[in-house]
Point group: C2
């Protein structure tokens, strides 16, 4: 209960508080003998510095925040794991907020962050870009994850390439009536994936068609719904290949479709993200793998770098390349 204070350490060691503080923060600035005494006193008292006081004086918290858009999607938790690791390595704390079940969503959580005075936040922009500028005006650094922007540092994945690879693969295995299931068109990633998909169709020539279906959220349940809708179509109008914009939808669709149709013969499915459950499905899911963990890791490192750099800041952008992982949901031989 009774916190031992830095001044207690100073008294026991017979030095000033300044020296103790220096020992803690710039050990090179204290004499070896002094260091020995201070270190002994700290040991003896079991002293732990009070982070709050340090933060107050330093004007920074050594903590960064991350808003998880959808905690039920392993993609985001993997992102968080990567970010957490980077934070830990740099001695930062990672404060996670979840906007999972909430109507007003993200911007509310950014508010939470606002008066927790974090040094910076990692943001995965959802449907609309929340008022990041306001945060930044308040002195909080911002790095975008899984999204590019000229105004902020960002780490992202080439979604055009991902959409293209997924679609081209379906065409290569002989599918002609394709369907793209995406999220809200306002989200940049979705637009990119769609445009990659279209590019692949265009390149294939005239006999390949592509229909697009867009939903607000991309969950397992939504996948089930869309699967049911496909089954309700007359067979001739059913797609024979589907590109889903995330694995959850793909798995939901597959569950419903596998009851009535043969996968991949009647209908082949490609997901996106390569969450663990994609490989673990009874029919393993072909999917576009993103370097998810790395994405979170690099994002956090970038943020921390921005926090610690001294000179003028230049926004930097890292773009990873996705990788198509072929499994049984599109190919018998896989």
């Amino acid at each position: 209960m009774a916190q031992t204070r830095l001044s207690d350490v100073a008294r026991l060691a017979g030095v000033s508080t300044g020296s103790v503080s220096n020992f803690l923060n710039r050990p090179d600035r204290v004499n070896a003998e002094t260091a020995r005494r201070v270190s002994g006193a700290i040991e003896r008292l079991g002293y732990v510095p009070n982070t709050t006081a340090r933060q107050l004086r330093r004007g920074q918290s050594e903590a960064i925040g991350f808003v998880i858009t959808d905690i039920s999607n392993p993609f985001f938790t993997t992102l968080a794991t990567g970010a957490a690791q980077a934070a830990r390595e740099a001695g930062y704390a990672l404060l996670l907020a979840t906007s999972a079940d909430d109507e007003s969503g993200q911007s509310q959580y950014l508010d939470v962050f606002e008066n927790r005075n974090l040094d910076g936040v990692l943001v995965t922009p959802a449907r609309t870009t929340p008022n990041l500028d306001k945060l930044r005006a308040n002195g909080t650094k911002v790095v975008l994850v899984d999204r590019e922007s000229d105004d902020y540092c960002s780490v992202s994945v080439d979604d055009v390439a991902g959409g293209l690879a997924a679609t081209k693969h379906l065409i290569d295995v002989g599918k002609r009536r394709l369907m793209f299931v995406g999220g809200e068109r306002r989200i940049q990633q979705m637009r990119d994936r769609v445009s990659g998909s279209r590019a692949a169709v265009l390149a294939a020539g005239g006999d390949v068609t592509l229909v697009e279906e867009h939903r607000e959220t991309l969950s397992i349940d939504v996948g089930r719904e869309i699967g049911a809708e496909i089954l309700a179509l007359p067979p001739a109008r059913r797609p024979d290949g589907v590109v889903a914009a995330n694995d959850l939808v793909a798995l939901g669709m597959m569950q419903v479709l596998s009851g009535a149709l043969s996968i991949p013969d009647d209908i082949a499915i490609v997901g996106y993200d390569d969450i663990d459950f994609a490989a673990a499905s009874l029919i393993p899911l072909t999917t576009v793998r993103q370097p998810t963990r790395e994405l979170g890791y690099r994002g956090a490192r970038m943020l921390i770098a921005e926090l610690t750099e001294t000179g003028e800041h230049e926004h930097s952008h890292v773009v990873f390349q996705p990788e198509l992982v072929v499994r049984a949901s599109t190919s018998r031989s896989a």
Copy 2:
């Protein structure tokens, strides 16, 4: 950049800092006119209180921590969601730490928490109980989640009942050669689930057998391994019913087994937790549902209650009852 301080507000409103502080924290103590002026000044300046300074003075951080044992298991993220909600409702921040990929594991993260001076932590004790006592001696409150203990408040689920229900169900659908796949025996939950399982076998009489398999971790990959081992057995020695101690293992096993055997005819599988993917599997998984979100929610509320209560503290314990959810992995009719 230049933070507006409380004293700026006071100056603009023409009142003392004490009054501004009172307006913020005990509005009933300030005159209506004063309140109006202060509120106007806050508005005009866009003032946001500095949480760090408040924490320092108050001696508390209004933040609680939660160590996620395995972030790749949706069970734990759901727990976190519940806890996050409770924290949010009470105006607390939830600091998440992940011990996912780390050899030394949990205790290290509790250290991180130690000098972040949190008011309390929520702990899901893993294999060994980390040095919680030390934390507590430092003034940090502790509540155990998913585990009972006399020395701490706790929220848990009746694991004996869960193991029993799962096993009895297999027996009821006609299975006789049962297998229990659990985690480390040192973990209390595992012991409870096993003993529930044994009780069900005992109650069924002589012709039901139970073999036990224990692994350090319970992941999809481990499930695959065990599935392969089962397939390698001579048919007569294969179990015809499996109780898995979490859904991940169950899903992993099912993936391997469904290739060679008929589920549920040759072998029926029951999981544990009822994560979303259990219902979403191509063969939906029968499982023991835990009120996971509620568990996190109640745990956090309990912790916050302990933090805000004034009198003597009495440890309290909430024990939820699990619920068996029957699906196709054990029953054709389901």
